[in-house]
């Protein structure tokens, strides 16, 4: 589970959005896969990811026992070890990178580790090709995202869509994305604070905080 396919944006908008994920297949290569999934994540954290996830939690998770002082001191540090230790069952593990260089370096190490798991890269078509080429790996299969079909006009504007669809399971609601964008525009939250709030809603850890920060900054600049 990651569902990164239908992130909203043009190819240029994915210049800082590379998701690499590993997935075992039931009955094919899931036996004894837990150490391999952990190894995959350990390789990823060596290459400065923006986020990682294990299907149950991302590296910036909700906090369930806050005290009143938390309103001034929210935790915004990303916890890699908690995610890695939290891999308990076969499933998808993932890491988000913000440059081709870091994604390619990570992918090179993954190839060398020869884990035997299916590994996918979710980004623009060309970005993925380039990462593969730089490591001497040919693509096996490709799934293209066709444009969202919305004949009944349900969807919000492109900025809200871009922020919201970075949680592919739809856990970042349009209203929450809009609220965070408004709070940034009104100067009630910094883009970093707004991004931390949005990132906590994505349980798979595939939300890209760097891309979200850029989108919020762009929205703030637009109004000037």
């Amino acid at each position: 589970m990651t569902n990164t396919l239908h992130r909203y944006g043009l190819a240029q908008s994915f210049r800082d959005d590379y998701i690499i994920f590993a997935i075992p297949s039931r009955g094919i290569n899931d036996e004894g896969c837990i150490p391999k999934l952990k190894e995959f994540l350990r390789i990823c954290i060596k290459h400065d990811p923006a986020n990682i996830g294990n299907g149950n939690r991302g590296s910036l998770a909700p906090e369930k026992n806050l005290g009143p002082a938390a309103h001034w001191e929210r935790k915004d540090s990303y916890e890699w070890e908690e995610v890695i230790e939290g891999v308990e069952k076969p499933g998808t593990v993932s890491a988000v990178f913000t440059s081709e260089e870091s994604a390619a370096a990570c992918f090179r190490d993954i190839v060398a580790a020869d884990l035997g798991l299916s590994v996918n890269i979710s980004t623009s078509v060309e970005n993925a090709k380039q990462v593969g080429k730089s490591c001497g790996i040919n693509r096996h299969s490709v799934e293209y995202a066709l444009a969202l079909n919305d004949p009944h006009d349900h969807l919000p504007n492109s900025q809200i869509l871009a922020l919201s669809t970075m949680c592919g399971h739809g856990m970042v609601s349009f209203n929450m994305a809009r609220k965070m964008m408004d709070m940034v525009r009104e100067g009630r939250r910094t883009p970093e604070q707004a991004v931390a709030t949005l990132t906590r809603f994505c349980p798979c850890g595939i939300y890209n905080p760097e891309r979200a920060r850029r989108l919020l900054e762009e929205a703030r600049k637009e109004q000037k």
Binding site: M1, N3, L5, R7, L10, F14, I23, P24, R26, I28, N29, E31, G32, G55, P62, K64, N65, A70, H71, T92, V111, L115, G116, S118, V119, N120, I121, V125, A128, G132, I137, N138, R139, H140, S141, V142, E143, Y144, A145, L146, A147, L148, N149, D150, H152, L155, S164, H169, G170, V172, S173, F174, N175, M176, R178, R188, R189, T197, R200, P203
Partner: protein, 279 residues
């Protein structure tokens, strides 16, 4: 999902959190409520909101005083101050909402979380879609709209009527009471879920027909549809068939999920001969 009425302080923080817009504050009761028909049991409010577990009586008093002085609250937007959300035990047919909407809940039929299918993510070891074939993931309801099984059935029946076969290891296919007709169980038809994926496979020649069909049925279904369309690349890692075809047909795409072919069969299983030749 339940909001504990003894704990809720009607702060309204949870209202924008809900992907379906199912939470509102009842001003008469001065408590947040859930519209059960709109709620898809995705668990976002319960799981993703941080909590403070403050004393509700104290919080209500502070809020009342601040309101009297016209003070503007500036709380953390993702915090429930009193931990009011509670997950209740669900039974079928309502349970199906949670299975299809909560990404951390496993689909019982396939054992996979999220939307419950491996799609082409494991095509390097499963070969669901070979070179020259086309796989489709037709996803209903996402982002942010939701869908009822009745509407999904309209699509599956139309596809079945046109002779299109469904992917076997998919939660919607496994729910079908009659795969040849695309029928879903009667008792779940009115249940609303956050999203679901119907998976099919065709030849390249059928792509135009299928995409037109999906768009046509979508006009009758009051939701959003996202289509993923996949194929296996050639030995050089190129796709010289599907991508040019989509461009010719006027279907733009910029993003893709790319299987890099690193998977291997490592379980101790007997592999069928025809599988060996294609992997």
């Amino acid at each position: 999902m339940i909001i504990n009425q003894k704990k809720c302080v009607a702060c309204g923080n949870c209202i924008p959190v809900c992907p379906m817009g199912a939470i509102y504050v009842d001003t008469g009761k001065n408590r947040a409520q859930i519209n059960d028909d709109a709620c898809v049991e995705c668990g976002t409010c319960y799981r993703a909101m941080s909590t403070e577990n403050l004393n509700p009586v104290l919080v209500r008093m502070v809020r009342k005083a601040a309101r009297w002085f016209r003070f503007r609250f500036e709380p953390e937007p993702d915090v429930c101050p009193t931990g009011s959300f509670e997950m209740n035990d669900l039974e079928m047919p309502r349970l199906i909402r949670q299975i299809f909407s909560d990404p951390v809940v496993e689909h019982t039929s396939t054992g996979i979380k999220g939307r419950g299918t491996e799609e082409v993510k494991t095509n390097d070891v499963n070969l669901r879609v070979d070179t020259g074939e086309v796989g489709y993931t037709i996803e209903f309801g996402r982002p942010g709209v939701g869908v009822r099984f009745r509407d999904i059935q309209l699509m599956t029946r139309t596809l079945a009527k046109n002779g299109i076969k469904f992917e076997k290891k998919n939660p919607i296919t496994l729910l079908m009471t009659d795969e040849s007709r695309g029928d879903l169980p009667e008792d779940i038809l009115n249940e609303k879920i956050l999203s679901a994926i119907v998976e099919i496979r065709t030849t390249l020649e059928e792509v135009e027909k299928v995409l037109k069909l999906v768009h046509k049925v979508n006009l009758q279904i009051d939701t959003v549809i996202a289509i993923g369309i996949s194929t296996r690349c050639d030995t050089n890692g190129e796709d010289n068939l599907l991508a040019p075809l989509l461009e010719n047909l006027g279907y733009p795409f910029s993003r893709a999920k790319t299987n890099m072919g690193l998977g291997r069969i490592t379980n101790k299983i007997e592999v069928k001969d025809n599988m060996k030749s294609t992997l």
